[in-house]
């Protein structure tokens, strides 16, 4: 029976990993143990036989095949997926810095979300000077659930109000066209909602009055803007819309903040 330590020394010798001291020890052992000597000789022969196994040349076409397949993969993806394919390809392959692309995509999404959600909330509601101007980016409201819409066409003014909602917010899109100043007031239930912000998308400077349970926009000409409310859970109920001008009420309506038949 050959000791495990001796077997290890024999194998290390074959691998050329023994120190001089270890080789000397091994030779002493081999001189004393014929069985170990036989094993050593056999394993040396086996290792020698393995050295005779020659390398095989890869098929001549293989290199070009691999390069072509990489090329075709990229072309194929780009062709079948268009711009998205190119983006996916960039994400998958190493040819473009993947992280830069992911970062850029994240930035675009982030800016979009900022425009839709954060900006109205961040506006200092007392500083109406920030509420004018035209936004370069128009939020795509179709990504939200539409709730309701009302429209009015009067001699003094015409307009439309649409509501959209999410899990914790309500957005009212207000469009009004008038010659003389028109006030659009939106009443809400303060127990279940808080005015969050207003963003003007179109129209000249006007005024915004913010109360505990109502906001009022006053302006003339064509205007369009978004009013955002944060909801606190529970049933918000409808918003109450009142359009007035020249000292009299021109239009009054309730507008739902959730789709008919839906439950928040």
């Amino acid at each position: 029976m050959i000791q495990q330590k001796l077997i290890e020394l024999i194998n290390k010798e074959i691998d050329g990993l023994n120190s001089k001291e270890e080789s000397r020890k091994l030779n002493l052992h081999l001189a004393k143990h014929p069985e170990a000597r036989k094993l050593h000789e056999d394993l040396v022969k086996t290792a020698y036989a393995l050295k005779k196994v020659e390398e095989v040349e890869p098929p001549r076409h293989l290199r070009q095949h691999i390069l072509n397949s990489l090329e075709k993969r990229e072309e194929g993806t780009a062709r079948s997926w268009g711009v998205l394919g190119k983006v996916l390809e960039a994400l998958r392959g190493p040819s473009l810095p993947r992280y830069a692309l992911v970062f850029a995509s994240g930035l675009v999404v982030g800016v979009l979300l900022l425009v839709i959600f954060a900006l109205p909330r961040d506006l200092g509601v007392g500083d109406t000077s920030q509420l004018t101007g035209t936004m370069a980016l128009v939020p795509e409201l179709s990504v939200f659930q539409p709730a309701d819409s009302v429209a009015f066409r009067l001699q003094e003014a015409s307009g439309m109000i649409k509501t959209y909602y999410g899990s914790d917010f309500v957005i009212a899109e207000v469009r009004v066209q008038s010659v003389s100043p028109i006030k659009t007031e939106i009443r809400f239930r303060p127990e279940t909602a808080t005015f969050s912000g207003f963003k003007r998308l179109q129209g000249k400077e006007g005024s915004l009055d913010i109360g505990q349970s109502a906001i009022a926009l006053t302006q003339s000409g064509a205007s369009r803007g978004f009013v955002t409310f944060l909801t606190h859970g529970g049933s918000q109920g409808p918003l109450e819309v009142t359009v007035s001008g020249g000292g009299k009420t021109l239009y009054h309506s309730l507008i739902r903040t959730i789709q008919a038949g839906s439950v928040r």
Binding site: A49, E55, P58, P59, L62, I66, P94
Partner: protein, 186 residues
């Protein structure tokens, strides 16, 4: 052959960097360096030239796609070999039920008619290698055909160096017994 792998370590890293910047020629250079070793590694594992060529292609495509996951703290060839070994092992595990010994590995330049005896001996050796259990075969291939150290094998195979040694010693013993039995080794 394997000696040159160490020499090119820094160049490998530079090639990877260039490749990640979009220089496709850099990947072609990587391919030039490693096509043959990887093809031979896979060939010794699967024993079929067509399969080896297909797998080599798969390995390089995988490597290309995952190139940005390569960590420069490690040797590039270890990373590439790991992909190669895993791909080959995966292939073998799927093919295992129908794996058979084939006689199509003959080194270039060997003339069957003229050197029948050499070819026959060669075949027996091939058969003995292929008769090894796959976890033994891989250590023989990596150590004897790719000249990798225990430590490198350990990293590629994801097993402790101690296990590598023990598998290698056992594999050699089995191989030796098979060669003796087949009369190839006295």
């Amino acid at each position: 052959m394997p000696g040159r792998l160490y020499i090119g370590e820094q160049e490998d890293k530079e090639l990877v960097r260039r490749c990640l910047k979009g220089e496709k020629e850099a990947f072609a250079t990587i391919l030039d360096r490693y096509e043959k070793p990887i093809y031979n590694l896979v060939l010794r594992m699967v024993n079929d030239r067509d399969d080896a060529a297909d797998l080599t292609q798969t390995i390089f495509v995988k490597a290309y796609e995952k190139l940005d996951t390569y960590d420069e703290r490690f040797k590039f060839f270890s990373w590439l070999y790991k992909i190669a070994v895993n791909t080959a092992l995966n292939f073998i595990s799927h093919r295992r039920h129908q794996e058979r010994l084939r006689d199509d590995i003959v080194p270039n330049g060997v003339q069957l008619e003229e050197e029948f005896d050499t070819s026959e001996r060669y075949q027996k050796l091939e058969d003995a290698i292929l008769g090894l259990r796959v976890d033994y075969r891989i250590v023989i291939v990596l150590r004897h055909f790719q000249n990798l150290s225990y430590d490198e094998m350990s990293k590629i195979l994801d097993i402790p160096a101690k296990t590598v040694k023990s598998r290698l010693f056992t594999a050699r013993q089995i191989l030796k017994d098979t060669l003796v039995k087949s009369g190839l080794q006295g």
